[in-house]
């Protein structure tokens, strides 16, 4: 019986990759542990090892092929005595369910940052022009590239800007967001730190007091809890405590929220934690255009800015204005879709789900307005309230915990500024009030999905199906 070797997922969020080259040819005998191919993911180039023994019967993907979907059969292995070299591969895994349940035929030889056999539940969206106001040329780029370009452009403009964090330099970024920066800016300005979040966050704050412009990367924001004293007590409060003398122009950035199958300690949204504190700005973009424009604004901002990214979004492509001074102001939400029946607000990855929900709602005759908050603090209450006064109904979406979350604040803001306009109670869509579980089915249950938003919007509109 032939054995199918499938395109492996080499990170929790990998959906596709480039098969850089085969290291075996048809007819080669392979043993368990032999390196058979190199695969380039969105984060790194990795070696794929054979798990089973046998003879290579067929290679279904050529060396150098891009965009090979996770789960697609890339080779066929013949067991002893088999000779059929024309064994056809089974159909590529098309659905997410199939992909996430597949048996992996190979494991990565290197396991950092986080090697998981899981495939990803990621919304597949066509590139969206996130800035309709922009009439100039655009180019397609991923959120990852947009963030990198934002840093590179600001570093070219301002010698005081430097980036530090774990694996940002020689490794090229745990999630490749800082790829190429070391080569261009040298190890003076792109600095690998020891694993020492509290220390390097505090060191960054001191450098900002010393009139530099640090960008401090947390490999994920989960690790910022180690450093939160320096972020809150030193970065956020010192301007006030110094009577306005001691500004702290620093950006703390990195992936926030759930990635995929990394469980409770690595899957948490910190938007409400940081938005709670005066003295900080908190930004959490969705599109690549906003990621770029807002990160540039954050780097230029004279205040400490918490910049919450999302690992699942890094590989998603959007149209981005083709301009090296594309800056999006902090503190401005954006209406991504105009509607008249209900206002849906979201930020970061939830924006994509909110837009999908709006599509489904439209099919059922509900015309939803979707607002991408983009900045959590200072909150653009103007845009929010203007919309709610028009639609008279409001659904807040976030991935984080519900209790004392962003939705709770938005509900208060809407009550404060648009109470008389409301025709229905405010609806809150949020993650479940549980530590993030590992099991795929439980994880999915813990995270708000498109259907959750659709149901909440229907409740707000008093429509059937809004349970």
């Amino acid at each position: 019986m032939t054995i199918e070797i499938k395109m492996p997922a080499l990170s929790p969020t990998m959906t596709e990759g480039r098969l850089s080259r085969w290291l075996v040819a048809i007819g080669d005998e392979v043993r368990s542990g032999d390196v058979i191919a190199e695969i380039e993911t969105d984060k790194a180039t990795m070696e794929v090892e054979a798990i089973d023994e046998g003879k290579i019967g067929a290679l279904h993907v050529e060396s150098g092929q891009d965009n090979v979907q996770v789960g697609v059969v890339i080779a066929t292995l013949l067991e002893e005595g088999e000779t059929d070299l024309s064994a056809a591969p089974s159909a590529p895994a098309a659905s997410e369910e199939t992909a996430s349940n597949q048996d992996l035929a190979a494991i990565p030889a290197t396991a950092e940052p986080v090697a998981s056999a899981a495939a990803v539940i990621a919304p597949v969206l066509a590139p969206i022009l996130a800035e309709p106001d922009w009439t100039g040329p655009t180019k397609t780029m991923t959120v990852r590239e947009a963030l990198r370009d934002a840093m590179a452009e600001e570093m070219r403009k301002d010698d005081r800007v430097f980036v530090m964090g774990e694996e940002v330099a020689e490794y090229q970024g745990a999630y490749k967001v800082t790829q190429g920066l070391l080569d261009e800016f040298s190890d003076k300005r792109v600095i690998d730190t020891p694993i020492t979040e509290h220390g390097f966050a505090g060191l960054g704050v001191g450098a900002a007091f010393g009139e530099l412009r640090p960008i401090v990367e947390f490999m994920t924001f989960n690790f910022s809890m180690q450093a939160i004293d320096q972020i809150i007590n030193s970065a956020a409060k010192t301007l006030y405590m110094s009577g306005g003398q001691m500004g702290c122009p620093i950006v703390f950035r990195g992936p926030n929220g759930a990635a995929s199958r990394v469980a409770a300690q690595h899957s948490q949204c910190f938007a409400s934690w940081y938005a709670h504190c005066p003295g900080l700005k908190v930004v959490s973009p969705w599109s690549a255009a906003d990621a770029k424009g807002l990160l540039k604004a954050a780097i230029r901002d004279p205040n400490p800015v918490i910049f919450l990214e999302n690992e699942v979004m890094y590989g998603q492509s959007f149209e981005v204005p083709d301009h090296d001074d594309w800056v999006v102001p902090i503190g401005k939400a954006k209406v991504l879709r105009e509607g008249s029946d209900v206002t849906i607000s979201a930020f970061s990855i939830m924006v994509g789900r909110a837009l999908e929900a709006a599509e489904q709602l439209a099919a059922e005759g509900i015309n939803a307005e979707v607002i991408d908050l983009r900045t959590i603090r200072p909150l653009d209450t103007e845009t929010l309230l203007t919309s709610v006064r028009k639609t008279n109904r409001f659904v807040s979406c976030e991935e984080g915990f519900p209790f004392a979350g962003i939705g709770a604040e938005l509900a208060m803001q809407v009550m404060d500024g648009a109470f008389d306009y409301l025709d229905a109670p405010v609806e809150r869509v949020a993650g479940e009030d549980v530590p993030m579980p590992y099991a795929a089915n439980l994880e999915k249950l813990a995270l708000p999905q498109v259907d959750t938003i659709v149901a909440a919007a229907k409740r707000a509109c008093f429509r059937e199906g809004g349970l």
């Binding site: 430097f162 020492t196 060191l203 001191g206 030193s234 301007l239 110094s242 003295g279 230029r300």
Partner: protein
């Protein structure tokens, strides 16, 4: 803000001065007479200032926490006596002495203690949180040891900018048991940052004596694992402090990375004004005062070597008068305007 003038004028400092010998007290290694008088005056000013702060606390003019520096004056005065203007300083919440030694105005500091609009932080920081960009004084930090990585960050900025400056990050014997200190030692050594970690070992972290909290009580050795040289210094002897400071500054300025100075010192008062200090005997405190007082030691030395008693008396009087003026200034300064509640949270104008 009324800026009191300090007297006498400090001797001119030249950047890049070569290090002096480590031996402190040989007569021919002595600092210039004017420097000695300056150090004497600086210590007396801090002493008188802190006594007045304690008094104002008792009168209810100063609130909250108020940590006095009395007894430890030689540490910061000795360090500052050889620091350059470009050097930066950061310390913990026991910070009044450091601010005065940096040349910050006594009136501005006292007005901050009384929570008035003319205080260094406009009355919004208080005893533990004051800053002066002009004097390169970066606080005044209320969280034990938080100032240590910040100091390394300031040193990082000195090195990045190539301005030749050194940061002096002061921490107490309590702070040395915080994890972020070792995170900072590691990075400072790894990146050869120009920072002196000045451990002010006053022997009690609030009420806990060093041997009760520290496994290994030679705190100067705490950087050994990182290859950071450390030196134990009689922190009650301002000349010993000055000599050690010269050596440490020269080390840092020459690009050799961080240095640790453990200053063996003593605070006469409680940890803060509300501390009855039951964890030590009155005799212990009296013995330190009588035998090791930094001001008396220097005064005796100056007189032995022929200083004019009247000259010292004039400095004493001057310090008293500065503190008196500062107190008047602090008590006459208005409370912050209610509108100040909502200012200085964020910098609004984006360059």
């Amino acid at each position: 803000m009324a800026r009191a003038k300090s007297a006498p004028q400090k001797s001119a400092k030249k950047p890049g001065r070569p290090p002096k010998s480590v031996k402190a007290s040989a007569v021919n290694d002595r600092p210039a007479h004017s420097d000695m008088l300056q150090m004497y005056y600086d210590m007396v000013l801090i002493r008188r200032f802190e006594e007045k702060a304690g008094q104002l606390y008792g009168m209810g003019e100063i609130g909250g926490f108020c940590h006095l520096y009395i007894g430890q004056e030689a540490v910061v005065v000795g360090m500052q006596s050889v620091a350059e203007d470009i050097d930066s300083i950061v310390t913990s919440y026991r910070d009044h002495g450091h601010m005065l030694a940096c040349g910050m105005d006594a009136g501005g500091v006292m007005a901050e203690l009384t929570g008035r609009a003319d205080g260094y932080s406009k009355g919004k920081g208080g005893s533990m949180h004051m800053f002066s960009r002009e004097k390169n004084f970066y606080g005044g930090h209320g969280i034990v040891a938080a100032q240590v990585p910040i100091g390394a960050g300031l040193a990082f900025a000195h090195k990045y900018k190539g301005d030749g400056g050194v940061n002096m990050a002061y921490l107490g014997d309590g702070a040395v048991n915080q994890g972020q200190v070792y995170e900072t030692f590691n990075m400072a050594a790894l990146w050869e940052l120009p920072v002196i970690f000045v451990i002010e070992n006053n022997q009690y972290a609030m009420g806990t004596a060093v041997p009760r909290a520290a496994a290994g009580t030679d705190l100067c050795d705490r950087g050994k694992a990182y290859g950071i040289p450390g030196m134990q210094v009689d922190g009650m002897d301002v000349l010993a402090v000055r000599t050690a400071a010269e050596q440490a500054l020269a080390h840092c300025r020459s690009g050799k990375g961080p240095f640790i100075l453990e200053m063996k010192t003593y605070r006469y008062r409680g940890h803060s004004m509300s501390d009855p200090a039951k964890y030590r005997t009155r005799d212990e405190v009296d013995a330190m005062r009588k035998q090791h007082d930094p001001i008396d030691q220097l005064r005796d030395l100056l007189l032995r070597e022929g200083a004019d008693e009247a000259e010292l008396k004039a400095l004493d009087t001057k310090a008293k008068s500065i503190v008196s003026e500062a107190t008047d200034f602090a008590l006459e300064s208005p409370l912050p305007d209610p509108s100040a509640l909502y200012t200085d949270i964020l910098i609004e104008d984006i360059a």
